[in-house]
């Protein structure tokens, strides 16, 4: 009697143990999806990019100064061999990101400092969600606004001042993108500033510094690594941003630093190469994957550096 009860108990135990293992296995399988996604991204981009480098040498891709991806339909066509140099795209991307960051950095940092240090809790609770709303607006809306409202205004101002501005200037796309980036910078910098220990502030007040002097001479220097991290994250966003530049920046691959000219970006070219008619094996379509791989390396690199800086900073005051 007691033996058989023992047996049933043991069986029940075994069964529930098995169930525990099964569920744990399922959970592990789920969390592997993240790893598979990364592998999928890297593998698919790398695979197509290697095929691309089979057609176009990697040195030409990295160092050539020309981008015009039209490939010949017939072999004897004149001037139709595609030029696949990524540098003009990179320079366009960096120009637009630079403009965006020069709008977003002062706005974002000053907002963050004000909200973290000076604003009353009530104001802060009202303003913070409003600013974060900016991050929730779909980028296609920013793109539409940039192309339809901001670009004509900038063009009109240029005409008023007597010089010509392209209707798809880097300035229009960049400045609108800058506003989009403000909440990314402000909310992260806000956290960073709040993490500066109160003791540092108290020491500064104790020495007779005003509130502003405390902020500019003590709090901000202490928070600098974290703030740099948040800026780097914003740059990585700007480089990977697609819709604003697709709608408001141009297609012409100009190697220029003039913000009034039309430039193109890596993301714009990926979109133009891959929408519309495409044959899958042409250098044109494969080029999109090569650019994307380049883009991924760039943004991930920035991201890793940024997270490291923020982490190190957090540990310093933890």
């Amino acid at each position: 009697m007691s033996q058989s009860r023992d047996l049933t108990l043991r069986r029940a135990n075994r069964r529930s143990q098995l169930r525990e293992y099964a569920i744990q296995g399922l959970l592990i399988a789920c969390s592997f999806v993240a790893i598979f996604t990364t592998i999928g991204i890297v593998a698919s981009l790398a695979f197509e990019a290697i095929r691309f480098f089979g057609k176009i040498p990697i040195t030409e891709f990295l160092f050539s100064l020309e981008w015009s991806p039209q490939t010949a339909i017939r072999a004897d066509q004149v001037g139709a061999s595609g030029k696949f140099g990524v540098l003009p795209l990179l320079s366009g991307t960096l120009l637009i990101s630079f403009i965006a960051m020069s709008v977003a950095t002062p706005l974002g940092l000053l907002s963050a400092v004000y909200l973290a240090e000076f604003a009353k809790p009530k104001t802060r609770n009202m303003i913070k969600p409003l600013l974060e709303l900016l991050a929730g607006i779909p980028t296609v809306v920013y793109g539409f606004f940039a192309a339809l409202v901001v670009a004509p205004i900038i063009r009109g101002m240029g005409a008023g001042a007597g010089f010509e501005i392209s209707s798809e200037s880097a300035l229009a796309a960049g400045s609108v993108m800058g506003i989009m980036l403000v909440p990314f910078i402000s909310s992260l910098s806000d956290d960073v500033i709040n993490a500066v220990p109160q003791a540092l502030r108290d020491a500064s007040y104790g020495m007779g510094a005003t509130h502003t002097e405390t902020v500019t001479k003590v709090v901000l220097p202490a928070a600098t690594p974290g703030i740099i991290g948040s800026l780097l994250l914003a740059v990585s966003r700007a480089i990977g941003e697609t819709m604003i530049v697709v709608m408001a920046a141009g297609l012409a691959a100009n190697l220029t630093a003039n913000p009034f000219e039309a430039v193109t970006t890596m993301t714009v070219q990926i979109v133009t190469l891959l929408t519309g008619d495409q044959e899958f094996d042409s250098a044109k379509t494969l080029a999109a994957f090569a650019i994307a791989l380049f883009l991924l390396v760039l943004t991930l690199g920035l991201n890793i550096v940024a997270l490291r800086t923020v982490d190190k900073y957090k540990k310093k005051y933890a």
Partner: protein, 425 residues
């Protein structure tokens, strides 16, 4: 700070002035960002509000049998496809008798939308007893007329710079004088798919495409996301493997969205041969994209559940799994749902990855399932914004307004859920 301290010395006053100034810099920075947003919203609102109304023109139509149904069979298809142009034109000529030459007749007819004949066909097919009678029918005006009636075409612009000529404008005014022009609620905008003609285009197919994509996205990302979070927070011991998973999740959150589109193109479309341009693939791509957001949000919720809950359950003899799924997860569910909805709201506004997997086609038909070819709301906005027709500017802004309303609804729902169900510890 008391005043007497500030005025003790000029240096002190200067330092204080700097303090005041610095605060103002912050206020101005915030004001710039927020007023930009307001400017954007008002610009879009005033451009788009007109699209919710549509100009209609009344035509007195003689439904003559010899024209519509010469064979007298009353067959539904032949009624739909009959040539209604002559009877519409006759109706217009009753008001504007001057237009008799061929070119004038064509111009006169162009005041009406191309959809007017289809519209009449539908009506007659639905009610064949109309044949033989004479009726006043309201049909849609063409996009140019619509813009003129809404005051968006300036008649003072030189004639050769506008598509609507002085003659056309005179005709519209004649029609208007006899009470045959009116504006009414634009039902087409909400009930039809895309069209080449602005007055016949609507957002229904795009909205449904978005809905199906989000459905797939939710079905994949929600279970995967919360189970991953549960594993990482409740089960996993710190090891190389969990570190790797964590690094992966953080990095995926920073990958540009367009790269996810390329992943979908290379793996889902070209490798697994899933159907191109469908919400199924769109939803899968969006799911992979929102997964990190959901995982990160869910983990922070799980971390906020007090250890006492787990200890109590374990102490009463519950297994690890029972503790987790009977006690911890239900407590965390409202927060995890909130995080998921916020992630899906992001996915709703996402355009670039959908362009990569071909959800960027001209879609007239309303998709009926996840494997029908479809587009999505933000993509429709992008397509219309790209269109050279002036009438589409209005539609683009109106579609943006609809998209923003959906986003606001999702966010409000998420906040409501959090307020309603979340417990503070």
């Amino acid at each position: 700070m008391p005043d007497y301290l500030l005025s003790t010395s000029p240096a002190m006053a200067k330092r204080h002035a700097r303090h005041t100034r610095f605060q103002w810099y912050g206020r101005i920075a915030i004001a710039i960002s927020i007023s930009f947003m307001l400017l954007m919203f008002t610009a879009i609102f005033f451009r788009g509000i007109g699209a919710f109304q549509k100009t209609m023109i009344a035509v007195d139509v003689q439904f003559t049998e010899s024209q519509i149904d010469p064979s007298g069979t009353r067959d539904e298809n032949s009624l739909k496809q009959a040539n209604y142009k002559p009877i519409l034109l006759q109706g217009l000529q009753q008001v504007i008798p001057g237009a008799t030459e061929r070119r004038d007749r064509n111009n006169l007819y162009k005041l009406l939308s191309n959809g007017a004949t289809f519209d009449l066909g539908e009506r007659v097919a639905r009610k064949p007893e109309l044949i033989g009678t004479s009726q006043r029918v309201w049909v849609a005006a063409s996009s140019e007329v619509d813009l003129y009636v809404k005051g968006k075409i300036d008649p003072d612009v030189p004639e050769d710079l506008r598509r609507l000529k002085d003659r056309d404008i005179a005709w519209i005014e004649t029609l208007r004088a006899s009470g045959q022009v009116k504006k009414q609620f634009n039902k087409t905008f909400f009930t039809s798919g895309d069209s080449r003609a602005p007055e016949m285009a609507g957002i229904l197919s795009a909205a449904l495409g978005s809905f199906f994509s989000l459905l797939i996205c939710f079905l994949i990302a929600f279970p995967l996301g919360i189970l991953t979070a549960v594993y990482l927070e409740e089960y996993a011991r710190k090891s190389r493997l969990t570190d790797l998973i964590e690094v992966n999740i953080n990095n995926l959150a920073a990958v540009p969205s367009i790269v996810f589109g390329l992943l979908g193109l290379a793996i889902f479309l070209n490798f697994f041969n899933l159907p191109r341009s469908t919400p199924l693939v769109g939803g899968m791509v969006l799911a992979l994209m929102t997964l990190p957001t959901i995982i990160i949000a869910s983990r922070s919720i799980l971390r906020s559940i007090p250890q006492a809950t787990r200890d109590a359950a374990l102490g009463l003899g519950a297994s690890k799994t029972q503790t987790t799924f009977h006690h911890v997860v239900p407590l965390a569910m409202p927060g995890m749902l909130t995080g998921t909805i916020l992630g899906m709201a992001r996915a709703l506004g996402e355009t670039a990855p959908l362009l990569m997997i071909g959800m960027v086609a001209f879609i007239v038909d309303v998709p009926k399932g996840v494997t029908d070819v479809a587009t999505a709301l933000p993509v429709q906005i992008f397509l219309w914004a790209d269109s050279p027709e002036k009438g589409f500017v209005e539609l683009t802004s109106a579609a943006i307004m609809v998209l923003l309303v959906f986003l606001i609804l999702m966010n409000v729902f998420a906040v409501y859920l959090r307020k309603k169900l979340e417990r503070r510890w």
